[in-house]
C-alpha cells in the first residue's frame, strides 16, 4: 500500500493536495503544528492509486508518495 510522507519543515498547511486527490486518500490532520499549520495525513491509503497529483500540485515540495515499488514490494 502506498505511504504518504509530509515534510513538516516545508509544509504550510495549504491543503491543496487534499483538494486535488481524486480518491480522497489523504485528509487534513486534526491539530495545528508549532507554526500554526494543519498538515495533511493519511485517511485510507488503499484508495491511493499513485497518480502523484498531490506531489505535482504541491507549492512547497513538501509531500511525497512512497509506492509499493519504492518499498521493494
Amino acid at each position: 500500500m502506498n505511504k504518504l510522507h509530509v515534510n513538516p519543515a516545508y509544509c504550510k498547511g495549504c491543503l491543496i493536495c487534499v483538494e486535488a486527490c481524486p480518491t480522497k486518500a489523504i485528509t487534513p490532520c486534526k491539530s495545528i503544528n508549532a507554526k500554526g499549520y494543519t498538515l495533511p495525513e493519511e485517511d485510507d491509503m488503499r484508495r491511493c492509486t499513485g497518480c502523484m497529483l498531490c506531489e505535482t500540485v504541491c507549492p512547497d515540495f513538501a509531500i511525497a508518495i512512497e509506492t509499493d515499488e519504492d518499498q521493494g514490494g
Binding site: H5, K12, G13, L15, E19, Y37, C58, F61, E66, D70
Partner: protein, 279 residues
Amino acid sequence: MKKHPMLKYLKEEAPAGPRLPLIMCPGCGAGQVLNYALHAVDTLIREDGLRKEDFVFISGVGCSSRLASHYLNFDSGWTLHGRALAVATGALLANPGLKVIVLTGDGDAAAIGGNHFIHACRRNLNMTILCINNGLYGMTGGQVAPTTPIGRTTTTTPYGNVEEEFDLCRLAQTAGAAYVARWSTAHPHQTIKTIIKGIRKKGTAFVEILSQCPVHLKTAPAEMFRDLKKNTVPLKKAGKSEAKGRIPVGVFCDIDKPDWVTRYQEIIGRLERVESTHE
C-alpha cells in the same frame, strides 16, 4: 522519509544555511508553477537528452519572480522589475543554445515590463515566458494590476477598478509570439505539457498561468484551486453560452516561423561566405 521528486532541482542546503521552505505564502500558486516548470525540465532532460546546465531561469520582481532568487539548482538571474525579458534577450544573443525560461508575473510583464513584453514577442526570440497571473500585485500588498477585472476593489482601487484588463494571450499573439497558451495552476498536466512544448518550440513561447493569491483575496487555497477549474473553459468552447463569464484556457496559437537568432545566423553565414571568397 521520501522526498518530493523535484527537490533534486532545488538548493535545500547552502553554506549560509537552509533555503527552504519557499518564502511564498501558504497555498500561493507561484510555488505550483515552479513545480510544473521543474516537471517539464525533468522530462526534457530524460527524453530530449538535454542537460541541467542547458537551462537558465530569468525572473523580474514580484511574487512570481521570487522563485528564481536562490532556490534553484540551475543557472538563474533574479533581475529588475519588468526587465527579465530584456535580460533574456541579451543572454540569447551571447549563447543562443541556452534554454531560457523567464518567470514573470502579470504586473512584472504587462505593467512595468509591458514594452519589453511586446518587443520580445515581436522579435520571436527563442525563450519560454511563464507569466504567473494572479490578477494583482502580491509582493507589495494587493494593489490593482493591468489584469485586475474591472470593478474589483484592491488596496489602490478602494472604490472599484475603473480600468479594463489586458488579455495577455491576445496581446502576445498580436505582438508576434510563435506559441501562446493559457492554463491555470489547477491544470497541472496541461501546464507541464505546454511548458515542454514551449521549450521545444523555436521562437517565443508565452504561457500564461492563472494563479491564486489566498492572502490578498482572503480565500482558502483549496477553495481557490477549485474555483480556477470552475471559472475556466476550454478555448474551443469559448463562444458557447456555457463559457459566459469563464476564462478560456488552451493553446491560442502555434505557428512555425524562424526565430530571431536563426534569421541573424543567415547574415553571419552570408558574411562568412563573402569572406571566404576574398581569401
